[in-house]
Subunit: 430 residues, 2 copies
């Protein structure tokens, strides 16, 4: 939550921001420019880098400078960076911390990956219910320079159990002689330390919270997650979703900071997998080679037909991926979803088929037109069904739904669409 | 920023949240359940609805209840809802407000669509530089119950010009006798009232801000945009991007609240456009019908080849769309980007071609294998080039890059990929 300073400009957009400009450099160039920065600004730029960039930059700097930077980070940001570094480098950095910082860092590293425990800050201000408002404000004043946030104040009892939350604005507006116990909001949301980080971030977003307290299994207060962490997590998750919808792994760094060979690596695995799946289409067409030889004109509509099937499936898949991500649809809503998507697919297929029949009849013949249009009518609902079932099924077994969305759906619908097309061709033409 | 109360539960995820559950109902069902809610909870549920859902719900409720709900909304949220309503309904609702609320709402509605002016809150706390810390805190106390936020305090001079910002935590930690002028951060970012809302949201996100002041052309303070609005805007923009990457228009409502016919409408326009573009593939194949009749086996690899080209192009397009959205790449970076993507495409094509040559030679013959593999080597860099240029070009002329990403790229690469394939076939086989 503690942020640095920036350029004062009424038109300041992220793109014109000098900090943002530095974060787009490759590591060696960045290191040169970084050494020239004043100390304050250096800490700010370092904060703005993605964890893998921070690691690369540390590699380029001398040890003294490194320790200073790592010590200045918030504990939760430090943990996220340490996660990305090779274990040996991470151990060296942790060894260089003060014992208090080392203890906090080790605690956070003990929680499961991508859990609330990993992203929370243990440096939170907290209140006791028996305090008066005046005493509580005095406590907040003392905590203000170091706490992650003082705007959301968890209230805990003598056994460290979370009682509720007081917001600073309510504390300020209250009678100084009143008790914290009278102000505490016992219905304020809290999350478990093992809760998934994306669920925590969505909760903060949907309820417009500044921060949410984190509790352990015994409902004892252990930390706090702030809205800035929530925004960063949601951006990472969304970058990941968009990359996977496009059949690539996320870059995790600004585009120009990524080398050509890394770009190839983020894409080649998916591409090989999709080519392997697409070899199904070769098998299907080989099986119908005799039909193709008899009616070569059938080949003319292959790209149009499978392209339309693929696009219809991709629409359903991306709709579903997003609905799952924001929590509009659950993995268990299969029947309701598929029934809806089948109707959508049927309507789309009927519309496209009806529109295509006349032009194809005029340009080719009515037999070919019938085969193409009836195939569209069958392929579209099939595509929306596959496109909606696959992300739901993936989500159900714990796979990121974005992984099985558009490109995989498209490739599967390609092969099955060809089966449908040649099936109707044999029925209607031969 | 003012938020309601919710269920206290350590495992509270957005999905189990009763408020979130209500927001997923269709309007008529929601209206029934809504009437049964206690007043507090009703306001909270209404707040959590998307603007189109709010409008639909108002339709279903009686006039008295409606006025109460609209009056309880924050001015910026009210403006966003009014934008979505038919003009006649919006006018009726505005007429029902108190004159003060009406004035604020009308001011916000006067700014351009999707600008900072539309999303800012005019109800902000503000300080003067000559105040002492003690007096400033007294002012904050008075403002706390009504201001959108009191955690970020814009400081303005006698001419209403923005001098800078003081954060409440710094004010609390300071000596009560000090002056606001000594604490003010003159480098704190500010945005223009006509700045695009997404740029404002990204600034808040990248700099971890709680709020950012909004100024007019003369640098006079006119309002403040808070982090909760930034999160909502980013979610909307990302939902829009993901929908368009999948060739559909965003739903703007939870999935189950959208009817089948509306789902069809969000998809059919794109689908028709893509089918029209795909008819290019029919023309290309018709031109090569003689070649196809001579070597029918060429048809077997059409789906695999154009599918791979499409996937490679989609990878580049989605990478580029995301990089543009988060500000990693600018519309002017064309040369650098295309050069990078061409090399990526060339490497991917070389790899796939090298892997495919032997199996195709064994299963078919070496001539066909040569044609397919050389085509892959040409199609992949072509696809990454098209996939990177189109979003950049769109962004340059002010079109949302997500609109021209994956599906359009795929369809264009389909037709040109066929030209490349049959070109090589005529050269190498006939």
């Amino acid at each position: 939550m503690r942020e640095g300073s920036g350029e004062m400009s009424p038109e300041a957009t992220p793109l014109d921001d000098p900090v943002a400009q530095l974060t787009r450099l490759e590591p060696d160039e960045l290191a040169v420019r970084f050494r020239l920065l004043p100390k304050d600004q250096a800490a700010e730029v370092f904060d703005a880098l993605d964890p893998p960039q921070q690691g690369a930059l540390l590699d380029e700097l001398q040890a003294g400078r490194v320790r200073e930077l790592v010590e200045q980070m918030d504990p939760d940001d430090r943990v996220r960076m340490l996660d990305e570094l090779p274990a040996i480098v991470a151990r060296k950095l942790i060894a260089g911390l003060t014992s208090e910082e080392r203890r906090m860092t080790a605690t956070l590293l003990g929680y499961p990956n991508e859990s609330a425990g990993r992203i929370m800050s243990p440096e939170h201000a907290e209140l006791r219910p028996e305090l008066t408002v005046e005493d509580a404000l005095a406590r907040v004043r003392r905590a203000a320079p170091t706490a992650e946030t003082v705007y959301v104040l968890p209230v805990r009892d003598a056994g460290r159990h979370l009682v509720g939350v007081v917001e600073l604005r309510d504390l300020l507006a209250a009678d100084p002689a009143a008790r914290v116990a009278d102000l505490v909001d016992g219905d304020y949301p809290a999350v478990s330390v093992v809760e998934d980080q994306e669920a925590v971030a969505r909760l903060i977003q949907e309820r417009d919270l500044i921060a949410v307290p984190v509790v352990d299994r015994e409902h004892r207060l252990v930390g706090i997650v702030t809205v800035d962490d929530a925004m960063q997590i949601l951006e990472e998750e969304e970058t990941e979703d968009i990359a996977r919808v496009g059949a690539a792994e996320p870059l995790r760094q600004p585009y120009f900071a990524v080398s050509v060979s890394r770009l190839v690596r983020t894409r080649v695995v998916w591409l090989l997998f999709l080519v392997a799946a697409a070899s199904l289409t070769v098998s299907v067409l080989s099986a119908f080679e005799a039909t193709l030889e008899q009616v070569v004109a059938l080949a003319l509509f292959i790209p149009l037909l499978i392209g339309t099937g693929g696009n219809t499936g991709a629409q359903a898949a991306t709709t579903m991926t997003r609905a799952l991500a924001v929590g509009d649809v659950r993995a268990s809503d299969v029947a309701q979803t598929v029934f809806k998507e089948m109707r959508v697919g049927f309507l789309l297929g009927a519309l496209l088929g009806a529109l295509g029949f006349l032009p194809i009849t005029l340009l080719f013949d009515s037999e070919l037109a019938s085969v193409v249009c009836i195939s569209l009518l069958a392929v579209c609902p099939w595509a929306t069904t596959v496109g909606s079932i696959l992300p739901l099924a993936a989500s159900r077994v714990g796979i990121d739904p974005a992984v099985v969305s558009a490109p995989l759906v498209t490739t599967l619908v390609d092969a099955t669409g060809l089966l449908i097309y040649f099936g109707f061709a044999q029925l209607l033409i031969l």
